[in-house]
Symmetry: D2
Amino acid sequence: MIIMKSEATKEEVASVVKEIKKYGLRADVSRGAYRTVIGLVGDESKIPFSRFEILPGVKEAFMVETPYKLISREYASTWEPEAENRVINVGDIRIGGEELVFIAGPCAVESREQLFRIAEGVKKAGGHILRGGIFKPRTSVHSFQGLGANGKEGAEEALHWLREAGDTFGMPVITEIRGESQVDLVSEYVDIIQIGARNMYDQDLITRVARKKKPILYKRHFGAGIEEFLSFTEYMVAEDNKDIILCERGILPLGKGKSYFRYTLDVAAVPAIKRETYLPVIVDPSHAAGRRDLVYDLSCASIAAGACGLIVEVHDNPVEALVDGQQQITPDEFEELVVACRGVHDAVKNRRNRD
Amino acid sequence: MIIMKSEATKEEVASVVKEIKKYGLRADVSRGAYRTVIGLVGDESKIPFSRFEILPGVKEAFMVETPYKLISREYASTWEPEAENRVINVGDIRIGGEELVFIAGPCAVESREQLFRIAEGVKKAGGHILRGGIFKPRTSVHSFQGLGANGKEGAEEALHWLREAGDTFGMPVITEIRGESQVDLVSEYVDIIQIGARNMYDQDLITRVARKKKPILYKRHFGAGIEEFLSFTEYMVAEDNKDIILCERGILPLGKGKSYFRYTLDVAAVPAIKRETYLPVIVDPSHAAGRRDLVYDLSCASIAAGACGLIVEVHDNPVEALVDGQQQITPDEFEELVVACRGVHDAVKNRRNRD
Amino acid sequence: MIIMKSEATKEEVASVVKEIKKYGLRADVSRGAYRTVIGLVGDESKIPFSRFEILPGVKEAFMVETPYKLISREYASTWEPEAENRVINVGDIRIGGEELVFIAGPCAVESREQLFRIAEGVKKAGGHILRGGIFKPRTSVHSFQGLGANGKEGAEEALHWLREAGDTFGMPVITEIRGESQVDLVSEYVDIIQIGARNMYDQDLITRVARKKKPILYKRHFGAGIEEFLSFTEYMVAEDNKDIILCERGILPLGKGKSYFRYTLDVAAVPAIKRETYLPVIVDPSHAAGRRDLVYDLSCASIAAGACGLIVEVHDNPVEALVDGQQQITPDEFEELVVACRGVHDAVKNRRNRD
Amino acid sequence: MIIMKSEATKEEVASVVKEIKKYGLRADVSRGAYRTVIGLVGDESKIPFSRFEILPGVKEAFMVETPYKLISREYASTWEPEAENRVINVGDIRIGGEELVFIAGPCAVESREQLFRIAEGVKKAGGHILRGGIFKPRTSVHSFQGLGANGKEGAEEALHWLREAGDTFGMPVITEIRGESQVDLVSEYVDIIQIGARNMYDQDLITRVARKKKPILYKRHFGAGIEEFLSFTEYMVAEDNKDIILCERGILPLGKGKSYFRYTLDVAAVPAIKRETYLPVIVDPSHAAGRRDLVYDLSCASIAAGACGLIVEVHDNPVEALVDGQQQITPDEFEELVVACRGVHDAVKNRRNRD
């Protein structure tokens, strides 16, 4: 990291950036109320920091050992008096702000009618952003893989419906990208790109997505430690895209015997991550629960723990859903959940504001 | 399980119980509004159920395969129209009722003065039951093991303080038992006996404790599945002690890299367990978090998920605490937590009541 | 699955395949000594099996519920009298045959000289196939990412060295692919394509790699159950590429306290997987151990458990290695390991042959 | 830890020990070829080490932070030129010596005849020590709990059979203790006391068992880290009983989907533990596998990894076994396993001897 003197000129900053590039690294320049700080992106062991310290305008130059720094509150506090929570604006929606944000919709887009019916329900129930899966990650090659599997035309048709439904009901839209070949296509249609848990470790894919400079909803892998999750997030921020919404969705369950839910919701990850980074943190209670009757409980628990929003699977006829029917709730149940979560949010926010 | 006819006489029930004993099993007789049901305790494979079906007063006799049945809502529903939540009364306190119950106090009793100071703080802050560790389970034989390690006299002195502090401030008291030799002694002094996570699997110890017929706070082991937790609970209920408070306190964390908390709070276990059994479920946020600044968040999340109370470590001077200083909160912080939890409880209770 | 009559003609088989395609699925046709069997690839719930049963030449048509079938011994046994182990031929090397196969080389290719020195050592020590990482998956964007990060030219230069070193010392070569953009390039240079643990769940990437019709070394993710591992393997076999070498490399470690190794080698996965599928299974002891002094022990244990080979990181100067120095062994240590493993293989093979 | 001068007298050592006791700690005195070393047992933070350094005969006095030291190679090396492996002699059997040791017998003693038949088979097959469960730890109170559940008389009868069978076929005997009330009784009858995985954390129980001064076979809990396992071992060695045989028996399995075995055999724990402590390490492949057909593979893998022996469940009629029938092997299968393990042991021992 290179900290510039408060009186450093633009030219001096530019000259440091140029010098950094000579060593094959990139520079992340942050101009704050205090001063300008330059984060290095890449293998810092190649950098002779002592040589940088004598460049004009440089106050300090040193190596940072942590695997994530661009996203850390600690790093942000070097150039801003207070490292505040980042608010990501998507249309009128402010993710990470004072109000809770609810993302909802069907696990998989099945038809135009299904999507419009559910979108209407979601909107009425208080939802802000519409989700709908088109490229479905599936364990079995023999399962339904989403309409995205029907060639480019099928995928585009479904993406078009999603865009249309969002516009019709006044909600930004989000869908998941599963492979590099989908990045260009999906980016044209959606407001937020989702990276699923199974792709969390895909450094090539997430880098490519980040370059689109669109907001990204990034899910933690079910086997990933928090440090790993944040380290891989750094890959995207290193592409100069800080609009990353982190999402906890459950980790591998533990212990012998019958399963009572699909994944273990790591609710403590929410406040723990918030203490590390200024990026907003939301929760997906549906995939963690894997059963409809626990979604309400896990949603309330997540908000109580400090999540700034939720992404919930909503279906008007869960029993008939092509994917994950057992965990999707109806628009009515969703509305009840939204009301309860707001009550919980009010109950805990005094302390939150003081944090 | 043997279901008696609604018109079965006491004598017929007694005669079935006698027959069961011949096979080396015990009988758990439940008389409900509907009818009388006799649960078998022991190895059911020895029982010739067809022979029981022809005994006078018997309606049905069949084997139940689940490892827990005496504690299950399903079993309870065979003799009661509605299997309601069990409320455990300890003095004036109702555990499992409408109101939240807060158990709090120091991790370890260190001195009479320390205990009284903290007890006063806990009471003022809204605590209901006083906790204080005397026999401390510790990973290292070279660590402080609690005042219980100072021979019988030392243990008794500490137990006496605990009783006195509880009486002085009007709170029932609870402490942990770690070995069979402590059962008789501790039972004399406390209102609730705690079985710690590490002793969850000790079928001999928990059986012996259950025979004292006192309420038991029973913690889930950090490596135990929910089914195992409930199956071992059945050992105690099989001793005809249904006053068991189940406690989730975190499971083994998962994933590479730095630890951000001590255990993974399995918040979904709370609603999942409540759907299986009528026994009350509380949470210990302190041992799960292992760090002071997450206790508030995990407490609120637990209540939001449906816990009917908490057991929290409170110390007036955490930095100087002999054990677990890093996770104990002050009485002031505890008060703030109590207020927030009540707000959360109000926000979610509509749904809860409908469950 | 559709089982043809033993007397079914080629035309009848072709006609069934054509019918399957009408429903949007693909067909995997296996002609065995017994009969011809057609496995369906895709969402079988769309198929009206009763309509297929009346087509000419069809004996039986039914749905298979398991998420993996094309790779299962059970499925293979429907058309072959004995479902034998698949042997994958790479040059003169037979992977999955009677002899053990040792894949070895540096974690990362660092320079032509380094690679040639190590390749020579590996060959002398008894290695069969040369490995060398060019696109390195790394947790931190700030770490060395392999020579593949130096643009297309850098990557090609390193790939060229790998090919050259393999040819010089008479060893087929293998390297890892991390993203879809590397597939075409890497396929031109190597004999076996490696999919690393972190990419195990990438259904788009692995599908694309499988289409190259080259042998694939496929590593289990450290959070993946065996069923998931085999289910995702099915994605590749569904592309009509059965040359998949499965590789166990350790799963997430469990339990509090100090780490004594990097991952938990799941040695039982080796015999368990072998009972499910005919595909060959090898082990990577280096990444599991994460420390040099355990590589010998884990290698011997893996062979004793029935692995048909190993992939081992070997470096002539581990202390100076750019990546994973702490787990790479020297060519001399590797030779000792090869000798011991052969001894172990001899000691256990009687039973193995009988399996 | 207090290191005495090489010329320190017995009186000086005794005087240091006396001083230690004043602080409420115990002393573990080790006299080696080099010098005498005094390990402190208890809470070292109470000890003013600087005051000890000026006592006559004392060379150095300092605090040791590790939770296990009495059992560590590092500690042992302070008084012995080479900290050698500890060999535990039980009758003629040397556990931890050059030869492998096989402990075998039925999961549960069912009858005198059953035990004698199996004991004979075990002996013929090459077994050294006879195992037989009398107090069975079970998940369900409704399952068969072993003959130990039939009151004191039933337990004593079964213990008597075990002793008799051992004497008849010339094998020392071992059985498991599950609760404190069994300690005195069992100690009278057996040569080695087993502490099962579920009781690993019971510091009161294991302390009480250790005081019997008999060899102990101590199993790692399925949720315990290696550091915890060794730390709890220290509780027993602190009672001046160093005859502890450590046993790996599998940890909690990880990953979604079908189970292919009961627990994950942590084979790397064997060499990792051997590098930490001089105590012998064996493996229980039966409980790890939970299925008969993997016992051979896991046994060979364990020996290859450096285990000095195995404890295997053997039954002459597994299908009829009252407990764990699915994982018990026949005497014939056991013999085959013994032969293969010896071959594996020969193949790896060169390296082992050099360690």
